[in-house]
Symmetry: C2
């Protein structure tokens, strides 16, 4: 079973929600080690019936800290120590609800990148299981980065969803080949020439609701806009729905409908995004992650570790390197 | 009253839906001239009780034609003739459901750009009245283009919504100044220095559902992704809603809820997007525009013409030119 190191001190509701989520994950059969201040973690554990191991880490990285500098200077911060456990092989993966920048820096400087990785990328999950990368790690990308995202995303969809050959789409502003910026034109050519993945060509934002692609590939700026727009549009529809329901349906039905929909759209069901391209499984949970989100994020990390996500990503990168030359 | 030239031959359902929509707009008090093949338009008019003027234009621009070339070579195409009516002042604006590329080319080569316009931009409306530009005219933009989009979008929100000082937001991947690519960093600095508009700084896709900005400014690639993602996410939520409703609500309630929501989200309520930066009002209706969409697109064009949209855009551009230097 894959051991997952959990940064108990990262996130808006840490350590309480993180420890509670870790205990839930433990009860689901996961092997979890908590990293942080034992004086704050152990009283929380004592109230539960789970005797999880705790690794002491007493420094804290603040949101205002520069992540790269903080990771290098604060060797005893909870996220740094969690990353050290992954780097040493004591853990197969880690989960943090601290700042995305700190998770990325800890991955880069402590765990390290897989051979040949140009840019590690953040892969996010939509409520209908579709995967988007990069959803925000790299604001500017070159075509060869998008090729790497294609193989890394294919590896994630294969391990996480069990798809044999996930369908990879290049996010663009039209379906025809030749659409988009120079970035998309060149990435299209390179991904098309790549073996071992199922490239379905250009896709658009509206393919989010279509059965055309399992993985959306784009640069981190566009991906971040896509992710947050989907969130904004969903909220907007929910708001319009609440108004319609108030006019049409009995209150009890309306409440049930809204609540079922919020559950279906709830990002906590997945629990976090995956950082791909590092030498270990890294799951970045939302800063506001609840107990439920943390438990699911640990499940996501454990699933990735047990299904050999890192090795599959490494294999894909080798293939991409051969194709890009 | 502002006369609007309508390309009767453009769109998937032309001329039938276009003529029917034009008749509806006429009955709402709009001054409409139809442009296209009289042999196909007049029988449709005869069946209605509206005696609209028809200007003959017998050539057709096919979807496969290169738009710029077709507009220059097919002087007697319906969209070219509609644009000529605007250029000569016989009409104050035009509406076409033909290809976006053809509308843009007709605007550029026949109507002409306002002084100093770097890039005309397509401004789209979200269901909650928020405006996005550029939503697809220019895949690559420089910071000074975004400054022009800011003043053009402010002019549109002022005329269309009657807002005194619409709130202008720069689409980005975080709220703090300094976020984004070089494009956003420099555009932020330039727009902030601009007088006469209310710049609220960086906004994100999730601000679509927040009361933070009335107008979203971005390049045409990112804007197109945002627009289509909002559409895709809305469809996805509708699909999840249908599933929840099937379990929870009586069929009649479920049908009413879905139908009310589809109405609230219906892009036909606005009818089209506005091309800004040209010397006349140009509304680009969706290729699949129905009678309802065409009628509303004509209302949108007439409203812009009557409220002095082109002059307000020109004023904004002068201000932007002074600020950018």
């Amino acid at each position: 079973m894959a051991r997952i190191a959990v940064d108990a001190m990262g996130g808006d509701h840490a350590p309480d929600a993180v420890v509670a989520g870790a205990v839930d994950a433990f009860h689901r059969g996961h092997d979890v080690v908590l990293v942080g201040d034992p004086a704050r973690i152990e009283p929380l554990l004592e109230r539960s019936d789970a005797d999880l191991p705790v690794v002491s880490a007493l420094e804290v990285i603040e949101m205002a800290d520069d992540p790269s500098r903080a990771i290098r200077e604060k060797k005893n911060a909870s996220i740094t120590v969690a990353a050290q456990l992954v780097a040493s092989g004591e853990a197969a993966g880690m989960v943090s609800a601290g700042s995305t920048g700190a998770s990325m820096a800890a991955s880069a400087f402590v765990i390290g990148r897989l051979p040949g990785v140009g840019r590690p990328a953040i892969a996010s999950f939509f409520p209908n299981r579709k995967i988007l990368l990069d959803s925000g790690a790299n604001t500017a990308c070159r075509p060869e980065h998008l090729v790497q995202f294609a193989v890394m995303g294919a590896a994630l969809a294969a391990t996480h969803h069990g798809f044999d050959l996930p369908r990879i789409g290049l996010l663009n502003i039209g379906e025809e080949e030749g659409k988009g910026r120079d970035l998309e034109k060149e990435a299209f050519r390179l991904i098309k020439a790549l073996g071992g993945i199922r490239f379905v060509g250009n896709v658009e934002g509206r393919d989010l609701a279509r059965d055309t692609a399992d993985v959306f590939i784009t640069d981190g700026f566009t991906g971040n806009v896509m992710l947050k727009t989907a969130e904004g549009a969903s909220q907007l529809v929910l708001r319009l729905l609440e108004r319609s329901l108030a006019d049409i349906a009995p209150v009890s039905v309306a409440d049930d409908v809204i609540s079922a929909l919020r559950t279906a759209l709830n990002p906590e069901t997945v629990g976090g995004a995956q950082l791909l391209g590092t030498r270990g499984v890294v799951v970045i949970a939302h800063g506001s992650a609840s107990r439920v989100a943390v438990a699911n994020a640990i499940g996501l990390a454990a699933g990735g570790a047990e299904q050999g996500l890192v090795d599959k990503v490494a294999d894909g990168l080798l293939r991409a390197a051969a194709a890009v030359g």
